[in-house]
Amino acid sequence: MANYAHPEVLVSTDWVKDNLDQPGIKLVEIDVDTKAYDAGHIPGAVGFNWQTQLQDQVRRDIIGKEAFEKLVGGSGLSPKDIVILYGDNNNWFAAYGFWLFKIYGHKDVRLMNGGRVKWLNEKDKPLTTDPPKIAPTQYKVTETHLELRAMLPEVMDISKTAKANLVDVRSPDEFSGKVIAPPGMTETAQRGGHIPGAKSVPWSTAVQQDGSFKSADELQAIYFQQKGVDRKKPTVAYCRIGERSSHTWFVLSYLLGLDNVKNYDGSWTEYGNVVAAPIEKG
């Protein structure tokens, strides 16, 4: 049995329950459906809205350093805290939040394995609508890790040279170009298909029925043996807006231990809109 490369970044729902109210351990819920937090959250957890709080509200970009400091400081987090992220849809946006915390150099961030649904469906795990008590801090970012992020020119170059793995984590129908976005999702693109050279490995292949991650052995078999991700090369993961690919970025970096993995958050809603960019279908 292989172990996860960095098991310390994953905590169980039981661990979270045993550590509620511990000073220095802070919970943050980030959902696709921003109604979920209001319906009920883990006691003490703050909720981030990915649309209004994790994105720059003027240009298309992740929030800048100052906005990040303001957001997490205003939520009572400090750089020494252990930050536990969880959310709906198997932690899609929780993983996106994890990636953002790492970009802004937060030392100890962890994901709650199985996310919100696992917690919700376990009888002994409480939910509340009470707002958390927050003591704001002056959070200062001291290092940034933009190397965790891939931008369009680099992706174009990889597509041409195959010098890195390109992993498309969207559904098979999005990969083939049959649909441009999953039903009900509003962010979309002018064209359907995938970036030439990308391998299709839907994000969901990494999780079990209950939403928690598959074992290290299973993950190795899927990504390295079956899907042919070359572990000696760097890797870039993308999806539609960068949330599902954060999930796969997390799997490749922390569970499988690849040391050069980037999330291309521009993803299909950038690439599929670029004039004259080559596209593969089918």
Partner: protein, 321 residues
């Protein structure tokens, strides 16, 4: 109460039972075989307008008997509309509040009707028939409300509640047995929560194991509220494959065209899931030739005018002076 004069002391006395069954009407022009008797059981004539009156009432009565509602505690329920409308109207009449969590894709008419019936409405992005276990969607939002505010909400949870099945064991099954004088050979139903199929089939097969139960499903990616495609059946807790003989998959657009034909050919103002069930019955009649079939028609067309405009050419135009 007196089912002869049909004078009642309150609306709940009108709920269906063996003594007061929902009507069965023979299909005449649209029956493809003269040797196959075909009847539609009109569930929209239940007092709150659909087959879900049965499950809603059974679930609500159980909560009342256990003392789980009242004193400020009301209901929260994930629904594609009909269960919510029945539950909301019943709950309000008995003095409880009700919150309905619905998928965005249900027809506008149902959302507005839920509010008219007195439900507080939560609209979430979800599949048309909420599926437990997948994603988060309306079931888990409803569960969150129930868990976070247990003093305020009880959740009947039609997707897992055995009362949803028992309601049909106690009422729909015996009604059909009596109305057909035991002659029924085929039962035609659709699958949503699977309460209807499991309960009715359990009763009828108990009376006569040879009765064929045929479930009709829309094709994947469908737009027929209340129903579920076969690929999602694995997650339906109330589905019991030993109680179903055939599962037919029918192109979902036929739900709309057959519903229109039933309106215009038989004078039955049947909704899209009834249209789909009729198409399934038609295919089986052409295969089996002889028999006595009963189709359970879940609701009527009134809540689906906006969906009909989407799927039937011509309905959307010529409506203005």
């Amino acid at each position: 109460m007196n089912h002869q004069t049909r004078v009642y002391q309150d609306v709940f006395e009108m709920l269906p039972s063996e003594e007061n069954p929902s009507p069965m009407v023979r299909i005449n022009k649209m029956n493809p075989s003269p040797e196959f008797e075909l009847y539609a059981k009109l569930e929209w004539l239940n007092p709150f307008g659909s087959v879900k009156d049965r499950a809603a009432w059974a679930m609500l009565r159980e909560l009342e008997e256990k003392g789980e509602v009242g004193n400020g505690r009301g209901l929260v329920e994930p629904t594609s509309g009909n269960t919510g409308i029945s539950l909301a109207a019943m709950a309000k009449a008995r003095g409880y509040h009700m919150r309905a969590v619905v998928p965005n894709k249900i027809p506008l008419e149902k959302k507005v009707l839920l509010k008219i019936a007195g439900a507080e409405l939560d609209v979430v992005n979800d599949a048309l028939c909420p599926a437990p276990g997948l994603g988060d969607g309306s079931i888990n939002i409803a569960k969150s409300h129930a868990k976070a505010q247990a003093k305020k909400y009880a959740m009947p949870n039609q997707y897992e509640n055995e009362q949803n099945v028992l309601a049909h064991v106690r009422t729909t099954g015996p009604e059909i047995w009596r109305q057909t004088e035991g002659k029924v050979t085929h039962l035609f139903v659709s699958l949503g929560t699977c309460g209807t199929v499991s309960g009715t089939s359990r009763f009828l097969k108990g009376k006569n194991p040879d009765i064929k139960v045929v479930a009709v499903q829309p094709t994947e990616g469908h737009d027929v509220p209340g129903l579920r495609n076969v690929s999602q059946l694995g997650v339906s807790r109330l589905f019991d494959s030993s109680l179903v003989d055939d599962i037919l998959e029918v192109e979902f657009k036929l739900a709309y065209t057959r519903a229109l034909e039933l309106c215009q050919g038989e004078g039955l103002l049947a909704g899209p899931s009834s249209g789909l069930i009729y198409e399934g019955a038609r295919e089986i009649i052409l295969r089996d030739k002889k028999g006595f079939g009963v189709m359970i028609f879940p609701d009527n067309i009134f809540k689906y005018t906006s969906n009909m405009m989407k799927h039937i050419p011509g309905l959307a135009t010529g409506n203005e002076a």
